[in-house]
């Protein structure tokens, strides 16, 4: 007979080992899938590594993919710490990019430093407000934040579509529906060959880490995440704290959107996020809500993304194959949580033996 029992203690070693085992199993199962597609899985995996590290250019691309994942995940972390299930980072990124683009398009000749600072603040405010709205309705009327934030994503997306086809359409694009490119003043400069977003990401990671662990507000967020009634009992203004944290979380996503628009696409478009807002949810969860781990997990995901697009050209495998791999890893890691917390006991014939004595 099989029985499931809760483990009394979760050791760190077991936790790490279980998760590594999960990733290996995900890779093995995906290997079967790759064989099914008619390729050698080992070769495919190796070329994924090559695709992300094989040259200086590829390595830079991997870093560039890591940046938005990291910053957006930090924003989601603040929400998840409070058990506010924010699925709306995608929309918050878009609105951050939108507000930043407003300044980029309307003040193209402003001093570069001033304009970029303005865009950064605008990005934070745009994303922040987009995060604040669902938080307000949740704290006031108890709306479901999962559905609310998800729907807000579509509103943001369609708003950009409208701008792209309507008021912000580039008159010089010969009827092609696109928003004009930013002037060079509105593009983030490079530092060591990669746009400064990487520096921003590192600074924000440190800030979020300090905020969560060493400030009163961070402590309040931790308490409220555990129990809102404990927060109220201790005299916290629970509602205000939820609103503040969601504004900050949205602001981080908004900054990430601004960076993508400014440094990566050089304009605003519906593809500005590239789905980062959703991938970041996975990253945040896999990092176990730890800011430093978010950087590492983001980097690993960037490898998957870059490697995925590389094997597409190298093996003529659709990129969706790499997405399947991502999905597998997530599924296995989430599944492995069960084995971290519980153990399975196989009851054998011991019982009968004892009876005999």
């Amino acid at each position: 007979m099989i029985r499931i029992a809760k483990r009394s203690e979760v050791s760190k070693n077991r936790n790490v080992l279980t998760r590594i085992a999960a990733i290996i199993m995900a890779l093995m199962l995906s290997a079967l899938f790759i064989v099914f597609l008619g390729h050698d899985p080992l070769k495919v995996y190796l070329s994924m590594i090559e695709g992300s590290f094989g040259s200086v250019y590829r390595f830079k691309e991997t870093i560039i993919s890591t940046i938005p994942l990291t910053i957006t995940s930090l924003g989601i972390l603040l929400a998840f710490k409070m058990k506010f299930w924010n699925i709306g980072a995608e929309g918050q990124m878009i609105m951050g990019a939108f507000l930043a683009s407003y300044f980029a398009l309307n003040y193209p000749d402003m001093n570069r430093l001033v304009l970029l600072t303005l865009m950064l603040v605008a990005g934070a405010v745009g994303g922040g407000i987009w995060g604040l709205i669902p938080a307000y309705f949740k704290s006031k009327y108890g709306t479901n934040e999962v559905l609310f934030t998800l729907m807000m994503n579509y509103i943001a997306l369609k708003w950009i579509t409208y701008l792209q086809y309507g008021p912000w359409k580039d008159k010089n694009a010969l009827g092609f529906p696109k928003i004009p490119n930013f002037t060079s003043n509105a593009v983030l400069p490079k530092l060591f060959g990669i746009h400064v977003g990487w520096l921003i990401a590192i600074i924000l990671t440190a800030l979020v880490y300090v905020f969560i662990h060493y400030t009163k507000k961070g402590y309040e967020i931790n308490v409220i995440g555990e129990s809102e009634s404990t927060g109220a009992y201790a005299g916290m203004n629970v509602r205000k704290i939820i609103l503040q944290a969601m504004f900050l979380g949205g602001a981080l996503a908004g900054i990430s959107g601004m960076i993508q628009a400014s440094a990566v696409s050089g304009t605003l478009s519906v593809e500005v996020t590239g789905g980062v807002g959703y991938t970041a949810i996975i990253v945040t969860w896999l990092s176990g809500l730890s800011a430093p781990l978010i950087v590492i997990v983001s980097f690993l995901f960037a490898i998957l993304i870059q490697g995925g697009s590389y094997i597409q050209t190298a093996f003529q495998i659709p990129q969706s194959a790499a997405q399947i791999l991502q999905g597998m890893i997530l599924l296995f890691v989430l599944g492995s949580e069960f084995f971290v917390k519980y153990q399975i006991i196989y009851k054998n014939i011991k019982l009968k033996k004892k009876e005999g004595k």
Partner: protein, 511 residues
């Protein structure tokens, strides 16, 4: 007489562990038909575990269960029901929106269609036979706690159980309702059933049971016949050491009016009044007890004073300041130092996943200046608490959830005393604690009283309330039924009042 008692259940060498905790270690239990058998032990002694094994909820790690002489493997609750074993849990498992009848037949095998008339007849037969008065067509949500319990018992009997397990059956009952329950149990006993009662209330054990099995920390201590037993001796066996069981009621002189509550009315989310026009005074150096069946408005009363409940109407005056409409934060800012030990320790008073330092910090951090958090002071206070209250923990950075119930309460109570309160609200501060921890809690509260603190003490154990409180007020259904002097109060009086009868209007039988 002894010959016709049939051995129904035999449990031998039962061992069960949960992680590192030995819930049962080599435990024995033999049940005979026509006998009431009490399982006596403190919290964590393994009583419930043993009965959960018998009713198929848990599987033992080792050991055997025999039912009517046959070795059985009770793999699921369904197997247990098939063997005639039924358990009435402490927390009722009834569907609120269904009628008693529907609840009783739920889960029964049989035809897809319900023969309502026949079932009603069967239920009526059973309820008459055992004195379990219920109306089969009444909805559960319309029922009192005692009625719900009768439905639970009927449900078990209807499934054909001969072995009944009652888990803490009197915890939610008034003394009068308890008496009635005991009559029912006696009838079941006469019809040949074996009844097991899980409890830690000594007086009841001595009143109802034929045999008593004592467990302590998962170990089997002994099984005794209920003849010429000394409650003293039983306690010592249960606790494992000699205990002084009396509770002090220190007298204080300097009593000054501190808290005046008048006409307090609180409504819940559905606009139902959960507190109705409550008026009372509380002075410094006084312990005011609050008695009542669970859910009579005690929680709302505590939370209203602490600033956690929206108040519909009425006044709460602390000295001269009005507390109505003030949040806990504002109350602190007014310079009022109020301690609140809530009923829900890990859901409200403490954060289970944080360590002792961070939990001490909860009531401190707001007085710190600036943006950053300083843990230095809390660390010192935590060390101090651990030493002063003898909290057994590996260190102050241990998660509170890893501590035992008694130690958790010590952390909470210690922190609340540390803020040097003028008013202290405690809700069920000794619930779930073993006897020695409970007495430590009573001592701590009495010490506060001697320091001139006004204490509101919400309790469930009437003996404790009578021994400890200066006055006891009784709530029923959100109404204040009356207040009695602790020196003169009797359990019977309190029981009548808990059922909603004011004392001066005559004390007729309520049941």
């Amino acid at each position: 007489m002894l010959q016709d008692k049939k051995k129904l259940v035999e449990m031998k060498n039962i061992t069960k562990t949960f992680g590192k905790v030995q819930a049962n270690n080599d435990v024995f239990l033999t049940l005979y038909g026509g006998e009431v058998h009490s399982l006596l032990g403190e919290n964590g002694a393994g009583k419930s575990t043993l009965m959960n094994i018998l009713s198929g909820i848990y599987q033992p790690d080792s050991g055997f269960v025999f039912v009517e002489g046959l070795k059985v493997d009770i793999a699921t609750p369904k197997v247990a029901i098939g063997l005639g074993i039924g358990m009435v849990h402490q927390h009722f498992k009834l569907v609120d929106v269904l009628t008693a009848k529907e609840n009783i037949i739920a889960g029964q095998k049989g035809m897809p269609f319900i023969n309502g008339g026949k079932i009603s007849e069967e239920i009526r037969y059973l309820s008459e036979r055992y004195g379990l008065e219920i109306n089969p067509d009444k909805k559960i949500y319309d029922m009192s706690v005692a009625e719900k319990q009768r439905v639970e018992i009927l449900k078990v009997l209807y499934s054909g159980a001969k072995i009944l397990i009652l888990d803490e059956p009197t915890a939610v009952l008034t003394p009068q309702e308890t008496k009635k329950l005991f009559e029912i149990i006696n009838r079941m006993k006469k019809s040949g059933c074996a009844v097991v009662i899980i409890t830690h209330k000594l007086n009841e054990v001595l009143e109802i049971s034929d045999k008593i099995t004592i467990l302590r920390k998962g170990e089997y201590i002994e099984t005794v016949e209920n003849k010429n037993l000394d409650s003293r001796e039983l306690t010592d066996k249960m606790v494992g050491k000699s205990m002084n069981l009396s509770i002090n009621r220190p007298e204080t002189d300097d009593k000054k009016l501190l808290l005046r509550v008048s006409g307090l009315t609180v409504k819940d989310i559905e606009q139902v009044k959960v507190l109705k026009d409550i008026t009372f005074d509380l002075s410094s150096g006084e312990v005011l007890g609050v008695a009542g069946v669970a859910g009579s408005g005690q929680k709302e009363l505590c939370e209203a004073i602490a600033g956690l409940q929206k108040i519909h109407s009425g006044k709460i005056k602390f000295n001269k300041s009005n507390l109505v409409g003030k949040s806990p934060r504002e109350i602190i800012k007014m310079g009022i130092s109020m301690s609140f030990v809530p009923e829900d320790r890990l859901g409200m008073g403490l954060i289970a996943s944080m360590d002792i330092v961070d939990n001490v910090l909860l009531k401190e951090y707001q007085s710190q200046k600036g943006f950053f958090l300083s843990k230095k002071e809390s660390r010192e206070k935590a060390l101090d608490l651990v030493e002063k209250l003898n909290i057994s923990t590996p260190d102050i950075n241990t998660k509170v959830s890893m501590l035992s119930g008694g130690n958790i309460q010590k952390v909470l109570l210690g922190r609340e005393i540390e803020i040097k309160p003028q008013l202290m609200i405690t809700a069920y501060p000794a619930r779930g604690l073993d006897i020695s921890s409970a007495h430590l809690v009573y001592d701590l509260i009495n010490e506060q009283k001697k320091n001139g603190v006004a204490v509101l003490f919400v309790g469930e154990d009437l003996d404790v309330l009578i021994e400890m409180c200066d006055r006891i007020m009784v709530l029923c259904n959100g109404k204040l039924i009356g207040t009695v002097d602790g020196h003169q109060a009797t359990k019977e009086d309190l029981g009548y009042m808990m059922a909603g009868n004011p004392l001066n209007k005559g004390v007729d039988d309520i049941s």
